[in-house]
Subunit: 154 residues, 2 copies
């Protein structure tokens, strides 16, 4: 997988959380995910298909951060991850992937997005099954961690 | 969502488990998923994108059934869901979606598949975020339940 693919997702997530939720996240070190397992409490996932490329993207939030983003975006702070929170995570997944798609399109990598899927459940793990490597990018914030994973088949 | 979309996934799952794992599953009643939440311990998810259609598919296994299918397909029976099991669930997701894609293609519904993603974690839930409804199809077996969900945006 071309490392050019990861940066648009990184900057898109930072941008979406800053502008929509006034929340600053600090990128850690991107790495190729091998045996490492990253856990989240609520995750948005989306498939991507182009004429000669396909892949998948996921963004996984720890519960505390998801609830704080919910509060900052919508003024509600549910006690746990409910349907409103999964809706919000689905929207963020769409926005981040849409932002990355525009940047990648300018560089000649064109793909269409499937519809997002949101998974919730304490400390679930996600594995992208793809010929190419998965790049994992962790972020930290005052309210908990978020990480993104991107995988393309070439 | 056209109900024609669900049957190819149903028959494809029944067929894959019968031929690859010698396992019989019994379809329950398909229904439109509203507030209902279906839980699984390991799930395969995949995005689908056509020129005028997009959507997502998921298949969720209870642990006992996933481990039995693993044993019957590969002769190994790990005690819990490990990387070999998530690989197998990713493969099943690809096979089921590929089978459905061929049947739907014959009916004039063409789409391309993204790469699969596998989620594991006790009793996680999945929500397809799509303009159209999500159809949920439960199945029962001697070793536990499996359910599939299909969502298309029209």
């Amino acid at each position: 997988m071309n490392v050019e693919y990861i940066n648009p997702f990184l900057s898109s997530l930072v941008n979406v959380l800053a502008t929509m939720a006034n929340t600053t996240i600090v990128p850690g070190q991107p790495r190729i995910k091998k045996d490492e397992v990253a856990r989240g409490d609520v995750s948005g996932l989306i498939g991507m298909v182009g004429s000669d490329i396909k892949g998948s993207f996921s963004v996984s939030f720890e519960e505390g951060l998801a609830l704080e983003v919910m509060y900052r975006m919508l003024g509600e702070k549910p006690k746990t991850i409910n349907a409103d929170v999964t809706d919000m995570v689905g929207e963020i997944t769409n926005m981040v992937t849409g932002g990355a798609k525009r940047i990648l399109g300018d560089k000649g990598y064109e793909f269409s997005m499937a519809t997002p899927i949101v998974v919730s459940g304490k400390a679930h793990t996600i594995t992208h099954k793809c010929e190419g490597p998965t790049i994992l990018m962790p972020f930290d914030s005052e309210f908990g961690k978020v990480h993104i994973e991107v995988s393309f088949d070439r």
